[in-house]
C-alpha cells in the first residue's frame, strides 16, 4: 500500500491533478452511460406494461433471457455495426459534429452536480449558472444536425426544436433564479444544504409552482413527449435526425436520454433535497440506509425518470401553438409572480412557513380532487 502511495507522490503535481480529475470524471460518466442504456430498456418495459404488453424480454446473457436485460447491449452492438450514411447533399463536417454537440453538453453539466456530501467533480461557486449555460448550448446539436442534413424534414424539425427550447429556457432560468434566491447561493452543494430539515425543508413545498414549471420545462427542453413536435412522426418523419443512421443516430439517442437523466437529477437536487434523507431530523435517520446518502439521490432521479416515461405513455402530443402558449403566456408570468413572492419571503422569513403551508395544501387538494372525482364519475363512461 505504501508503495502505491509513494508511486503516486512521485508523479508531478500537474499530472496528479489531471489523473485525479480524470478518475472522478470516469466514475461519473461510466455509470451514467450504463444508466442511459438501461433507461431505454426501462422505457420499453414500463410503457409496455402501461399498454398491457410485455416489452422486450428475449435478449439475455449466456442463454438465459433474464427479463431482456441484454437488450440495450444488443441494440448498441447493432448500431455500432450499421453504416453511417452521409447524404450526398449534406455538409460532411457539420453533419458528423452535430451528434457530438448534442451529447457533449449533456455530460459536461454533470461536472458540478454533487452526488453526496463529499463527491463532486468541480465544486465551483457559479455552479447553477454553469448548468444553465451547458443546458442552453445543447440546442446546437439539433440545429446543426437539421441544417447540415440538407433535408426539409430535418430542417423543419430543427426549427421547431430550436424555437421550443429557447422559449422554455426562459421559464427554466427564472425557476432556477427563484431557487438561488431561496438558497442564497449559486453553489449547488450550498443549495442542497439549504434544504436540510426533512421533507418539509426541501424546496418543493415553498417553491411548488417553480417545481412544476421547472420539471415541465425540462420535459419540453429535452424534446420528450408530450412536447416532441421536433420529431412528430406523422408530420416530419423523425425530425432533425431523419438522415442519421448507425452510431451517429445512436449518439443523438444517447444525448436525449442523458439529458433526461440530467433534468431528473437537477429536479431532485434543486427541489427534493438531493442526497438528503426524508427522515432527516427524526430518530429514523440514525438507522442504516435511512440517513443521508447517494442512494436517496438515485431514488429521486429514478422517480423523475419514471415520470418522464409515464408522461410519454399517457399524454397525446401538444399542438405547436399550444406549446408556445404554455411557455410564454403561462409559465413566464407564473415564474415572475413567484419571483416577487419569494423575494418578499427572503426579506421577511415568517412568510416562508406560509409558502410551505400553501404548497402542502395545494398538493393535498389536488390529490383529494383526483381521488374524489375518480370515485364519483369514472372518466370515459357516459351516463344515460
Amino acid at each position: 500500500m505504501e508503495f502505491f502511495t509513494d508511486m503516486w507522490m512521485a508523479l508531478p503535481e500537474g499530472l496528479r491533478a489531471v489523473l485525479a480529475a480524470s478518475t472522478k470524471i470516469m466514475m461519473v460518466v461510466g455509470p451514467l452511460m450504463l444508466a442511459v442504456a438501461y433507461v431505454t430498456l426501462a422505457e420499453r418495459k414500463i410503457i409496455g406494461r402501461i399498454q398491457v404488453r410485455i416489452g422486450p424480454n428475449r435478449v439475455g446473457f449466456f442463454g438465459h433471457s433474464l427479463w431482456g436485460l441484454g437488450q440495450p447491449i444488443a441494440d448498441a452492438v447493432k448500431l455500432l455495426f450499421k453504416e453511417i450514411v452521409l447524404p450526398s447533399g449534406a455538409n460532411r463536417v457539420l453533419f458528423l459534429i452535430a451528434p457530438m454537440l448534442s451529447l457533449g453538453p449533456a455530460l459536461a453539466a454533470w461536472a458540478v452536480l454533487p452526488l453526496n456530501a463529499e463527491f463532486v467533480i468541480a465544486d465551483i461557486n457559479a455552479g447553477l449558472l454553469y448548468i444553465l449555460a451547458m443546458t442552453s448550448i445543447g440546442v446546437y446539436g439539433v440545429i446543426v444536425a437539421g441544417w447540415a442534413s440538407n433535408s426539409k424534414y430535418a430542417f423543419l424539425g430543427a426549427m421547431r426544436s430550436a424555437a421550443q427550447i429557447v422559449s422554455y429556457e426562459i421559464a427554466m432560468g427564472f425557476a432556477l433564479v427563484v431557487v438561488l434566491m431561496a438558497a442564497g447561493s449559486l453553489n449547488i452543494r450550498d443549495i442542497v444544504l439549504a434544504q436540510e430539515g426533512g421533507v418539509l425543508g426541501w424546496f418543493w413545498a415553498p417553491l411548488l409552482p417553480m417545481f412544476l414549471v421547472y420539471f415541465i420545462s425540462g420535459v419540453a427542453e429535452t424534446n420528450r413527449a408530450p412536447f416532441d413536435v421536433a420529431e412528430g412522426e406523422s408530420e416530419i418523419v423523425a425530425g432533425f435526425h431523419v438522415d442519421y443512421s448507425g452510431m451517429a443516430f445512436a449518439v443523438f439517442f444517447l444525448a436525449e436520454y442523458a439529458n433526461m437523466i440530467l433534468i431528473a437529477a437537477l429536479a431532485a437536487i434543486l427541489f427534493l433535497g438531493g442526497w438528503l434523507s426524508p427522515f432527516e431530523g427524526t430518530a429514523l435517520a440514525s438507522l442504516p440506509l435511512l440517513g443521508n446518502g447517494i442512494h436517496w439521490l438515485l431514488l429521486k432521479i429514478a422517480l423523475f425518470v419514471f415520470l418522464y416515461l409515464w408522461f410519454r405513455a399517457t399524454f397525446p402530443r401538444y399542438r405547436y401553438d399550444q406549446i408556445m402558449r404554455l411557455g410564454w403566456k403561462v409559465f413566464i408570468p407564473v415564474t415572475l409572480v413567484w419571483l416577487v413572492v419569494v423575494g418578499v419571503a427572503v426579506m421577511y422569513p415568517p412568510l416562508w412557513d406560509w409558502l410551505t403551508g400553501f404548497g402542502l395544501l395545494a398538493v393535498a387538494l389536488t390529490l383529494l380532487l383526483v381521488v374524489f372525482r375518480g370515485a364519483v364519475k369514472p372518466s370515459g363512461v357516459i351516463m344515460p
Binding site: A133, V139, I143, A162, I382
Partner: protein, 206 residues
C-alpha cells in the same frame, strides 16, 4: 506556465475563428465560427478569474443570441458572391476610412496609456472569493440607477419591437386556446332519447 499555454491555445483559436467569421463564404459557417470565438473568449475570461462574466457570455450570447441568429441565417438564402460584388472596386475607399479611424483611435488612446508598468500584475483572489457576489454588490449599490435605466431602456425596446411587428388579421381564422380549454362535454354533444326503429325485415342489409 500551464496557464500561459492555455491562454495561447485559446487566444489562437479565437483569432482564427474571428478571421474565419469574416472570410468564410457560407453564412451559417460564419455564425458557427462566431460561436467558437465566443467560447474561446469565455475560456480566456475564466483564466482571468472572471467566472461570472465567462459563464454569462456562454449563456447569453452562445445559448440565446447566436441560436436566434442561426435561426434567421439558416432560413435566409444569402448569396455571398453577390454581396461581395465590387469588393475590389471599393477597397481603396474602405482602406482609407479604416486607416483614418485607426489614426484617430491612436490619437485619442495612444500608446502612453498602455504598457505593463502602468498596470501591475493582478493579485489572484482567494479560492472562496465569489465573483458573482462582488458583481452583485456593486451592481445593486453603486450602479443601481444606471442598471435600472438600462433595464427600462431594454424593456422599451422590447415593447417597441413587438408593437411594430404585431398585427392582428381579422381575415384569418385562429384558435382561441382559452375557449378550447374551457369547453365542456355538454357544449359539444347532445344525447337525444328516441324510440327504437321497428323491425322491417331488412336487418341483413339486403
Amino acid at each position: 506556465m500551464s496557464q500561459l499555454v492555455i491562454f495561447f491555445v485559446f487566444a489562437a483559436i479565437m483569432v482564427f475563428a474571428g478571421v474565419m467569421v469574416i472570410t468564410v463564404r457560407n453564412a451559417v459557417h460564419s455564425a458557427l465560427f462566431l460561436v467558437l470565438a465566443f467560447f474561446s473568449s469565455a475560456a480566456i475570461w475564466l483564466l482571468m478569474e472572471a467566472e461570472f462574466l465567462a459563464i454569462v457570455l456562454v449563456l447569453v450570447y452562445v445559448g440565446a443570441v447566436m441560436v436566434l441568429f442561426l435561426f434567421v441565417v439558416m432560413m435566409l438564402d444569402v448569396n455571398t458572391a453577390r454581396l461581395k460584388e465590387g469588393f475590389i472596386r471599393y477597397l481603396p475607399v474602405g482602406l482609407l476610412v479604416a486607416v483614418l479611424i485607426a489614426f484617430q483611435l491612436i490619437m485619442v488612446v495612444g500608446g502612453e496609456r498602455f504598457g505593463l508598468e502602468d498596470y501591475p500584475k493582478p493579485v489572484p483572489k482567494a479560492a472562496d472569493y465569489s465573483n458573482t457576489e462582488a458583481l452583485g454588490a456593486v451592481l445593486y449599490t453603486e450602479y443601481l440607477f444606471a442598471f435600472e435605466v438600462a433595464a427600462v431602456i431594454l424593456l422599451v425596446a422590447i415593447v417597441a419591437a413587438i408593437s411594430l411587428t404585431m398585427r392582428r388579421r381579422n381575415t384569418v381564422k385562429t384558435q382561441k386556446p382559452e375557449m378550447q380549454v374551457a369547453v365542456r362535454r355538454e357544449d359539444r354533444i347532445r344525447i337525444v332519447s328516441m324510440a327504437s326503429e321497428p323491425r322491417n325485415g331488412r336487418e341483413d342489409g339486403s
